[in-house]
C-alpha cells in the first residue's frame, strides 16, 4: 500500500514536471515563427481491482501534442501565396509609378519643350539660335525617352536577378523540406510513433516560407512525409527527394530568365504563367502584365513621334535649299527567333503604319506550307496568315524560305522605340522649316487671279520633279490654261479647264488659283531658293503636337503618354488595394490560427502555477507516504 502511495506520488510528480517543461518550452518559443503551442496529454493509470473496489494508480503522460489546425494552416498558406504575389507585384510596379510620378521629370515637359522650340523656329525661321534650341530640345526629348526606357530595362534586368535568387531560395527550401521529411520518418519510427512536434513545426514553417516564394500544394503521405507540388502540378518535393529548379534564358527572348526544371542532363521548360502566387508569381506577372505594356506603350509614342515628324520634315526644305531628311532616327521592330527553331528562315518585321500599332507583342508560328499563325499576346487574338508578307496592325511581316513547321518567332514591334529614338541631324541648317516650292503671280497679270502658297503632297518618296519650275499660263479665252514644266507628262499640257479654287496638282504639289485671271496671265511654281523667312513646314511640324496620330489616330503624343501614366497609375492603385485587402484577410486568418495554436503568456503563467501546485501537492503526497512509513517504522 505504501509503495502504491509512492508510485502515485511519483507519477504525479513526473506529470507535473513534464507539464512544467512543456510550459517552459511554450514560454521559450512564444516568439518562434511557426511554433505551435504544445500540451501534455495526461491519462489516469488503470486502477487496481481490490476488494474495496477500484483504486487509482496515478497518472501517465501519454504524449505531448501540438495544438494544430490543418484546416486553418491550409487557409493561411493559400492566402499568403496570393498576398505575397500581390505585394511583390505592387512593389515592382511602384517603381514605374514613382518614375512617372513627377510631372516635371516625365516625358510631358520634354514634348512641350520641343514644340515650343518649333513654334519659335516658326516665328523666326532664319534664327540660328531658335534652330539650335529646337535641335537641343529634340535631343532632350530623345534622351528623356531613352532614360525612361533605361529605367524600365534596369527594372527588367533586376527582375532577372530576383528570379534567380527566388529560384535559389525555392531550391534551398525544397532541399530542407526533403531532409525534414527524412528526419520525421526516422524519428517517428525510433520513438514509438510519438509525433516530433518541433520537427513538424519546422517543416510547416519551411513550407510556409516556400509558399511565399511560389504557391505550393501539399499532400500528406501515410508515412508522415509531405509531397510538395508547384505550378500546374509539377512535384517539387517527393518524399525525401527534392526536384531542382533552374533559371534559364528564355527561348523567345534571350534577355530574360525563366524558370525551368533541372533534370540533371537537360532542362525541362515550364509554362511560365503556371507559376502563380508567391514572390516568383508576382515577378512573372509584373513582367508580363505591367512592364512589357509600359515599355511597349512608351516605345510606341517614340515610334509614332519619330515617324510622323520625319514624314512632315521630308516635305520641307532646309536652309541650304535641299529637301528635308529624317529628323529622328526611326526605331525598328524587334524580331526574336526562338532558340529551338530548326528552320533557317528569317522573319523580318517593318512598320507600315505607325498609327495602327497596338503596343502588344506578337508570337508567330510557322504551320507548314506557307501558312503562319500570328497571336497578339495582349488579348490572344489569333490571325491565320495563308502566306507572307502580310500587314497586320500596321506591321508588315515578311519571311525568307526555309522555315520548318513549328518554328516560332517573337515580334516586339515597339519595345525598342524609346531606346532607339535619336536626333538624326546635328546641323541647324538641316532643319526643314521652309516649304520646297513657292508660287508666284506675274506682276504683268491683268486679271484678278490669285495663287495659293501651295502645299507638298504627303506621298513618299517626294516627287523628284517637285522643285522643277512649272508655269501656268491662261489661254484666250481664260477658261483654260496651259501647264508647262519638267516632269509633267505631256508637257506642255494645254486646255486644262479652270475652276476657281479647284486643287491643281502636278509634280507632287497642290495649289489653288482663285479669282478671275485674264488671258495671258501667268502663274509659276518654282524652287523656294533663299527662303530664310519661310516657316510653312515649321508650322506644320508645330501642329503635330495636337494632332491625333497615335493608336489609330485617336490621340496625340501627349495623350498616349497620359494613357500610359493612367494605366500604370490604375494598375498600381488596383494592386495596392487588392494587396492591402489580401494582407488584412491573411492577417485575419493568421490571427484565428494563432488563437488556437499561438502561445498566450498569461495562459502559460497560469499553467506554470497549475503545474507548480500539482508538483507541490505530489511532493506533499510523498511526504505523507513518508510520514506513514515513519509511523510504521516507529512502532
Amino acid at each position: 500500500m505504501g509503495i502504491g502511495i509512492f508510485g502515485r506520488g511519483v507519477s504525479a510528480l513526473n506529470a507535473a514536471q513534464i507539464g512544467l517543461s512543456t510550459v517552459e518550452h511554450n514560454i521559450a518559443n512564444a516568439n518562434t515563427p511557426g511554433f505551435n503551442r504544445q500540451q501534455i496529454v495526461q491519462t489516469a493509470r488503470l486502477s487496481l481491482d481490490t476488494g474495496a473496489g477500484f483504486i487509482g494508480q496515478g497518472v501517465d503522460v501519454s504524449t505531448v501534442k501540438r495544438i494544430y489546425s490543418e484546416f486553418l494552416s491550409t487557409q493561411v498558406l493559400q492566402g499568403q501565396a496570393q498576398a505575397s504575389q500581390l505585394e511583390t507585384n505592387f512593389q515592382q510596379i511602384g517603381q514605374i509609378n514613382n518614375m512617372l510620378a513627377d510631372s516635371d521629370a516625365g516625358l510631358s515637359p520634354a514634348i512641350q519643350d520641343l514644340f515650343s522650340a518649333i513654334n519659335n523656329v516658326s516665328s523666326s525661321p532664319e534664327s540660328q539660335a531658335a534652330r539650335q534650341a529646337m535641335l537641343s530640345s529634340a535631343q532632350f526629348l530623345a534622351s528623356r525617352f531613352q532614360s525612361l526606357n533605361q529605367r524600365m530595362s534596369d527594372i527588367d534586368s533586376s527582375i532577372n536577378g530576383q528570379i534567380s535568387s527566388s529560384v535559389t531560395t525555392i531550391n534551398s527550401y525544397a532541399q530542407q523540406i526533403a531532409s525534414m521529411n527524412k528526419n520525421i520518418v526516422q524519428v517517428q519510427a525510433a520513438f514509438n510513433g510519438h509525433t516530433p512536434n518541433d520537427l513538424l513545426d519546422q517543416r510547416d514553417q519551411l513550407i510556409s516560407l516556400l509558399n511565399q516564394e511560389v504557391k505550393v500544394n501539399v499532400v500528406k503521405q501515410s508515412n508522415g512525409t509531405l509531397n510538395v507540388f508547384i505550378g500546374s502540378g509539377q512535384s517539387l518535393v517527393v518524399g525525401e527527394q527534392p526536384i531542382i529548379l533552374k533559371a534559364v534564358q528564355s527561348l523567345s527572348d534571350p534577355s530574360r530568365l525563366e524558370v525551368a526544371y533541372d533534370s540533371g542532363s537537360s532542362v525541362i521548360r515550364a509554362q511560365q504563367n503556371s507559376f502563380q502566387g508567391g514572390n516568383l508569381g508576382g515577378l512573372l506577372a509584373f513582367r508580363n502584365e505591367s512592364l512589357d505594356v509600359a515599355q511597349n506603350a512608351l516605345g510606341r509614342v517614340a515610334i509614332v513621334l519619330a515617324d510622323t515628324f520625319n514624314q512632315q520634315h521630308q516635305l520641307g526644305q532646309d536652309l541650304n535649299g535641299a529637301l528635308g531628311g529624317n529628323f529622328f532616327t526611326q526605331p525598328v521592330p524587334l524580331v526574336i527567333t526562338n532558340a529551338e527553331n530548326t528552320g533557317a528562315a528569317t522573319i523580318s518585321a517593318s512598320i507600315a503604319s505607325t498609327s495602327a500599332l497596338t503596343g502588344s507583342n506578337y508570337s508567330l508560328r510557322f504551320d507548314g506550307g506557307t501558312a503562319y499563325t500570328l497571336t497578339r499576346l495582349s488579348d490572344n487574338t489569333v490571325t491565320s496568315l495563308a502566306t507572307l508578307p502580310q500587314t497586320v496592325d500596321g506591321l508588315t511581316i515578311a519571311t525568307t524560305a526555309g522555315a520548318v513547321a513549328g518554328d516560332r518567332y517573337m515580334i516586339r514591334p515597339t519595345v525598342n522605340g524609346a531606346r532607339d529614338i535619336a536626333v538624326a541631324i546635328s546641323d541647324t541648317s538641316k532643319i526643314a522649316a521652309a516649304a520646297p516650292i513657292r508660287t508666284n503671280a506675274s506682276l504683268a497679270n491683268i486679271g484678278s487671279g490669285r495663287i495659293s502658297a501651295g502645299t507638298v503632297n504627303a506621298v513618299f518618296p517626294v516627287d523628284v520633279n517637285l522643285q522643277q519650275p512649272v508655269s501656268i499660263v491662261f489661254d484666250s479665252p481664260p477658261a483654260t490654261f496651259t501647264v508647262t514644266g519638267t516632269g509633267i507628262p505631256g508637257s506642255p499640257v494645254a486646255g486644262v479647264a479652270y475652276t476657281e479654287g479647284a486643287p491643281i496638282t502636278y509634280n507632287g504639289f497642290t495649289l489653288q488659283i482663285t479669282g478671275t485671271p485674264a488671258a495671258g496671265d501667268t502663274f509659276s511654281v518654282t524652287s523656294n531658293t533663299n527662303a530664310t523667312a519661310d516657316n510653312r513646314n515649321a508650322l506644320q511640324l508645330a501642329n503635330l503636337q495636337t494632332q491625333n496620330t497615335v493608336d489609330g489616330g485617336t490621340t496625340s503624343y501627349q495623350g498616349a503618354y497620359a494613357q500610359l501614366v493612367s494605366q500604370v497609375g490604375n494598375k498600381t492603385r488596383e494592386l495596392e488595394m487588392t494587396s492591402q485587402a489580401q494582407t488584412s484577410m491573411v492577417n485575419q486568418v493568421i490571427q484565428t490560427q494563432q488563437s488556437i495554436s499561438g502561445v498566450n503568456l498569461d495562459e502559460e503563467a497560469a499553467n506554470l502555477l497549475r503545474y507548480q501546485r500539482a508538483y507541490q501537492a505530489a511532493g506533499r503526497v510523498i511526504q505523507v507516504a513518508n510520514t506513514m512509513f515513519d509511523t510504521l517504522l516507529s512502532l
Binding site: R37, S103, V568, E603
Partner: protein, 408 residues
C-alpha cells in the same frame, strides 16, 4: 476568444505601420503642396493633368507667338505709316505740279524733290526688322526685295506670306509681301486706263473714266481716233484686240463735243480740249504699275516737256499728271488696305490675347484643383491621423504592459 501574445504585438505593429504611412503620405502632400504624389493616387486626374498641362503649355506658346506677330505687325505698320505720309507728300507735289503757272525750272525743282522722295520710298520698302531680315521680301528674308536699275525699281523676291499659329485654330500673317504693297497697284481707274498717245499734237485731255456696266466689260483694248474735216471734229472707237468681236463700239464720224461722255462696252470717259486730226486715245485694261514707276513717270514728265510747247505741252503734262495722281491715289489706297489688315490683325491679337489669358487661368485653376492639395483638408487629416496614431501607441503600451508574470 483566445489571443496569442505574439498576435497582440503583430497586429499592433502592422496597425501602427499603416497609420504611420498614412501620416507620412499626408505630410508629404502638405510639404509638396500636391495631392497627387504619384499617378496611383488618382490615375484619372493624373492623365487629365498631363493633357491639361499640354493645353496650358500650347496656350502659353500661342501667347509668345502672338507677341512675335504683334512685333512684326507693329514694325510693318510704322513703316507703312511713313510710306503713307510720304505718298501724301508726293501727291501734294503732284497737285502743285498741275498748277499751270509753273515754269520749267519750277518743275525741275519739283522733280528733284520727287526723286529724293523716290529714294526715301525705296529705303522704306527695303526696311529690315532690326536683326537683318527684310520686312517686305516674302520668304526670302535675307534678300533685298527692291532694287533700282535702269528699267526702274524691280521686285526681286517673292509673294510669300509667313503665317504664325496664334490660337489653336487660328493662324495670322506675320509678314506681307512687298509685291502686294508696292507693285500690285492697278493704274487708271483700276479697271481700265484711258491714255493719250504720246504722238498726239492736239490738246485733248482724257479723264480717268468709270465703269458704267460691269457686265458689258470685255477686257479688250480700244482706240479712239479723231479726225478733223472742214473744222468739224469727229471720232470713232475701234476694238483693237486681235480677234475681238465686232460690232464697232462707236462708229467713225461721231461728232466730238468737248467734255461729253464717250461710252461703249460698259466703259465711259470723256475728252476735253481740242484734239487734232489723227490724235489717238486708248482705253485698255488696267495693269499693275508699281508706286515707284508712278513716281518716276511723274519725274520724267516734269523733266522732259513736250518740245511743241504751249497748249499741247500743257495738255500732255496734264494727262501724265492725271495718270500719276490716279495711280498715287490707288497706291495710297493699296497701302491703306494693307495697313487696315495689319490693324485688324493687331486688334484680333488683342482679343485673342484676352481669350488666351482667361483660358490660361482656367487651365491653371483646373490643374490646381486636380493635383494640388487642399491645405485645410490635409492639415485636418494630419491632425486626425496624428491623434489616432498617438491613441494607438498609448493603448498598445497599456495592453502590452498587462502580464500575469508581473504578479507572480
Amino acid at each position: 476568444m483566445r489571443i496569442s501574445t505574439s498576435s497582440i504585438y503583430n497586429a499592433n505593429v502592422s496597425l501602427l505601420n499603416q497609420q504611420q504611412s498614412q501620416l507620412l503620405h499626408t505630410q508629404q502632400q502638405i510639404a509638396t503642396q500636391r495631392r497627387l504624389l504619384t499617378p496611383a493616387d488618382d490615375p484619372i486626374a493624373a492623365a487629365r493633368v498631363l493633357k491639361l498641362s499640354q493645353a496650358d503649355a500650347t496656350n502659353s506658346q500661342y501667347a509668345i507667338n502672338r507677341n512675335a506677330v504683334q512685333h512684326s505687325a507693329s514694325l510693318a505698320e510704322s513703316v507703312l505709316q511713313s510710306v503713307t505720309n510720304l505718298l501724301q507728300d508726293v501727291r501734294t507735289i503732284a497737285v502743285n505740279a498741275g498748277n499751270g503757272a509753273l515754269n520749267h525750272s519750277d518743275k525741275q525743282t519739283l522733280a528733284t524733290d520727287l526723286s529724293g522722295r523716290l529714294d526715301e520710298l525705296l529705303s522704306l520698302a527695303n526696311s529690315t526688322d532690326g536683326v537683318g531680315n527684310y520686312l517686305f521680301s516674302g520668304f526670302q528674308g535675307r534678300t533685298q526685295p527692291f532694287s533700282n536699275d535702269i528699267a526702274g525699281v524691280q521686285y526681286q523676291t517673292d509673294d510669300g506670306q509667313r503665317m504664325i499659329q496664334v490660337g489653336s485654330s487660328r493662324q495670322l500673317a506675320a509678314s506681307d509681301s512687298g509685291a502686294d504693297i508696292f507693285m500690285r497697284v492697278k493704274n487708271g481707274n483700276g479697271t481700265f486706263i484711258a491714255k493719250a498717245a504720246t504722238a498726239n499734237t492736239g490738246s485733248g485731255i482724257v479723264s480717268q473714266g468709270a465703269v458704267t456696266d460691269p457686265a458689258l466689260l470685255t477686257g479688250n483694248n480700244y482706240q479712239v481716233t479723231f479726225s478733223v474735216a472742214a473744222g468739224v471734229t469727229t471720232y470713232g472707237v475701234t476694238n483693237i484686240t486681235p480677234g475681238a468681236s465686232v460690232p464697232v463700239p462707236v462708229a467713225p464720224g461721231t461728232p466730238y463735243v468737248s467734255g461729253q461722255a464717250i461710252s461703249f462696252d460698259g466703259l465711259q470717259f470723256d475728252i476735253t480740249g481740242s484734239p487734232v486730226n489723227g490724235d489717238v486715245f486708248t482705253a485698255a485694261p488696267s495693269t499693275n504699275e508699281s508706286i515707284f514707276e508712278t513716281i518716276s513717270n511723274l519725274i520724267t514728265a516734269l523733266r522732259t516737256p513736250n518740245p511743241l510747247g504751249g497748249a499741247v505741252a500743257a495738255a500732255e503734262f496734264t494727262n501724265s499728271n492725271n495718270q500719276a495722281l490716279n495711280s498715287l491715289d490707288r497706291g495710297i489706297d493699296n497701302v491703306s488696305t494693307v495697313r487696315t489688315s495689319l490693324g485688324s490683325r493687331l486688334r484680333e491679337l488683342d482679343s485673342l490675347q484676352n481669350a488666351g489669358e482667361s483660358m490660361g487661368v482656367q487651365f491653371k485653376q483646373t490643374i490646381s484643383q486636380l493635383q494640388d492639395v487642399d491645405l485645410n483638408k490635409a492639415i485636418s487629416d494630419l491632425t486626425q491621423q496624428q491623434i489616432t496614431l498617438e491613441a494607438a501607441q498609448k493603448s498598445f503600451l497599456a495592453v502590452s504592459g498587462l502580464s500575469l508574470f508581473d504578479f507572480m
